[in-house]
Symmetry: C2
Subunit: 509 residues, 2 copies
């Protein structure tokens, strides 16, 4: 690891660890992940040896981030849009611990199991941070023997992935999940999940989107009729899932070279997985001479036909496209799968090339609860997960570009004074406002300047100021100032609360 020595010898012979760390971070994008981590660790250890305040590194863990008040204001608006849609569809909410028994998480994520964060074995149970909210939901249903449940869950999940801020990939991120568990008539809950996805993406107003749909049964049917051995289905799904990141040529090459599928099979698969369209495509596939021989594919296609009927009744069919190349990475899907992508320009069923990465996804997983149930009881599930981190990045960027001013507080009134020694009176007045449920602030100074107080209103977007001074006190009034128009009016002290409430309605704060 000679480059650490280089780092150490280069420009500083003293133990300037912060500088070394900073340099390391600057060059880290050019180094393999493991090398960077090893180096950080080594520097960390060296630094701990002679730890002092000067050497303390102030940073958040790799792949995680703080959210500032301004960012939180944006995020809370997004969460509130999402939650109000989940509630509009009658979902309850639950909460589960951020870590689970390690053994419960294993075997659910295929190759990605290596990305699970483990807790140190400090005596007691072996624990891991949750990788998603779906497996804890299935565990919750099985543990409590719940046969039906429509729930949403907003929570943080953890993946020891190689973080990429550009691609919005973090090691700690929030998931917003809506799932319907229970045995119902086919495709009704599935259609509602898609309606939920559609409502949320519409409400967030960040442009056109397209919902791609497929069905694992159709996909497996295609694999079968194309001659791919069943044992390679999962692997082939994973490879196919890369289609939104790389070209079909690259996927083809990987299938041949890494998955060991014959070029003939791949060519054959190729004809199918590049198809996309609406109800006409479904009708065509239902008559496909090869697929008709596959029972599973026919089941999937019949259900897809029904689903499109329901989506038409829900009025969202125009933004939905059956896409036979959609695979989704996770191992637990058993039926319908879907993914929403944003479009740079007006979407078009024939042209999906202009899409950027997905902002929501989900599907049907009928076997997951069974896996946890000791008696093997079946609780079929279908769900949707909103990719809130990507959505946040897009909205944050849009706001920055439009230079939109974002308030980080909801304060309605500032209690101000132009004179000295009015702290006690300000405290009395603000107390009345708080007790009346009005959002109010005052400057934490005994004798603040009036200009400073008014400036604070303008800076933080407080619409009203009440001003109390000697004169107002003697006349039994308070001065009310509209911060934007700078208009001032005296109102009697005895009904100042009612008057302020009346005026606030106008500002809608």
């Amino acid at each position: 690891m000679h480059w650490i020595t280089v780092l150490q010898k280069a420009s500083f012979r003293t133990k300037q660890f912060p500088v070394q760390f900073r340099i390391l971070r600057l060059i880290s994008s050019h180094l393999p992940n493991q090398v960077t981590e090893d180096a950080e660790k080594q520097l960390s250890h060296q630094q701990n040896a002679g730890a002092s305040k000067e050497n303390l590194i102030l940073k958040v863990p790799k792949g995680t981030r703080d959210f500032s008040p301004k960012q939180m204001a944006i995020r809370e608006k997004i969460f509130s849009t999402i939650i109000s849609c989940f509630k509009r569809h009658g979902a309850v909410t639950i909460d589960t611990p951020v870590f689970e028994l390690k053994e419960l998480l294993l075997e659910n994520y295929g190759e990605e199991t290596k990305l699970i964060y483990d807790l140190e074995d400090q005596g007691g149970e072996l624990l891991s941070l949750r990788y998603d909210l779906t497996v804890p939901f299935a565990r919750y249903l099985a543990m409590n023997k719940i046969k039906r449940c429509k729930r949403y869950h907003i929570g943080k999940v953890y993946r020891r992935d190689n973080p990429s801020i550009k691609r919005g990939r973090f090691r700690e991120f929030v998931q917003c999940d809506f799932d319907i568990a229970g045995q119902y008539d086919p495709m009704i809950p599935d259609a509602e999940c898609l309606k939920v996805m559609h409502e949320i993406l519409t409400a967030l107003q960040f442009g056109d989107f397209l919902i791609k749909i497929n069905d694992r049964r159709i996909l497996h049917g295609i694999f079968t009729v194309c001659g791919i051995p069943e044992i390679k289905f999962e692997r082939t799904c994973s490879t196919l899932d890369k289609l939104d990141k790389v070209t079909w040529e690259e996927v083809k090459n990987e299938m041949i070279r890494e998955d060991g599928i014959s070029p003939e099979c791949v060519d054959h698969v190729s004809e199918y997985v590049q198809l996309h369209g609406g109800p006409c495509l479904i009708e065509k596939l239902l008559k496909d001479p090869k697929l008709v021989q596959n029972k599973l594919a026919m089941e999937g296609l019949e259900d897809m036909k029904l689903l499109f009927e329901y989506l038409s009744l829900f009025g969202i069919i125009d933004q939905v496209s059956l896409n036979l190349g959609l695979a989704r990475g996770l191992a637990y899907y058993t039926g319908v799968i879907y993914e929403a992508v944003l479009l740079h320009q007006k979407y078009n069923h024939l042209n999906e090339s202009l899409t950027i990465s997905s902002v929501a996804g989900g599907g049907r997983y009928d076997g997951l609860v069974t896996k946890f149930d000791s008696k093997g009881y079946k609780v079929p599930c279908v769900g949707v997960s909103i990719g809130v981190e990507r959505i946040f990045s897009i909205i944050e960027q849009n706001n920055e570009m439009s230079k939109k001013k974002i308030r980080t507080t909801e304060t309605q009134v500032l209690v101000a004074t132009p004179q000295k020694n009015f702290l006690a009176l300000r405290m009395k007045f603000i107390s009345k406002l708080w007790n009346a449920g009005i959002k109010a602030e005052m400057i934490y100074k005994k004798n603040p300047k009036l200009l400073e107080q008014l400036h604070y209103c303008e800076e933080t977007g407080i619409p009203l100021a009440i001003i109390i001074g000697e004169e107002e006190l003697n006349n039994g009034v308070v001065k009310l100032r509209d911060v934007v128009t700078r208009k001032e009016v005296n109102i009697p002290q005895e009904n100042f609360i009612e008057e302020i409430k009346r005026r606030l309605e106008k500002y809608n704060t």
Copy 2:
């Protein structure tokens, strides 16, 4: 570890791990913590060796819990009360990762550092789950060089403590913190923190409470004039902090035997720390012949006098008591400290014996940000933390006793039909409701029975049902049913949305 053998041989010779675990859990409260953990681990290992679905233990990690929809409904109401108060006082909010660099958490929690959860070293940085929200806040301020900030933060924190459901002590729990950082005129932000605490406990309506206040400077002054060596101050504070759990006699004994304080000193301290009262006590102490010789104590008492003036202006002085025995466990407090306790009956400044454990606490910590700042810049802070888990337990118990019915959804309308083959029409109607922002559900069956649909409304508290059948369809109306009164009325289809909205206002849902 013979009792594991006993467990294994007792009633089952087959490897019935779930039964063994269950028995272990049943008897675990009678065993020392370490023994239970070792046993769970041993059983876990044995079980993993022959793992299969039948043997999978479905449980949450020790000291953590799931929250059911009913519990979440209660919790969300509590959070919303707390957050609306924080916002009323003009606080912004931030978010920080659930884990931090391990080295940033060390040295802040004294003896309790051993309770920190570490993440496994999987390569890369050494990380720990956050122990509270205060240290991450201080790290955030120092890292971003923020000199002033009034923020709230609601988040989960982690402590590898011995869990006790009875005492509401968990390994994963939510903290609700409100803190004011910045250099201001004395005691103004401190008074606001106490006002926030008072408003929240009042709004939650679970009975009388008392806010105990003290100041670390007064406490250190007392220790000094009683002859306790400075090096033992922190230790003595920790011991004194047990006063709310054990008697003064026991605390005294621990001070003498474990902290090595002389019996004379302890007797001397005893006279002070049992004092409690209001402004009169402060006046008395300001003239106390011993304390007047201690500059720090006098500073604390002068500030306390000012604080009581402010609390009087805020109208909350009646529920506040200076309590010289209040110490608070955490090492980082430097000035005013406070704690709110619930009272079984009307509180009384002279009788605090009827208190149960604290439901909120906080204080001033002027040195924490400096510790993280490489230039040692001072950002004095004061804050309050609401003990939401204890509050939740109390409110949950109250609800159970009063058999109060709690809705877990907010659904306003069920779209029902008395006839077969009306799924498509129900879907069209429910879609209109959702698009109009009305919270609506339907049964996920092609042909549900009317009775089942109406029963679902009654069971889940949905106030309105719209019923569409052949007759209604032909007459261009929908039938609107008030679920509670069972009154039905036909309304024209063209304005059914407006009519439903009008009626919902009445239900206030």
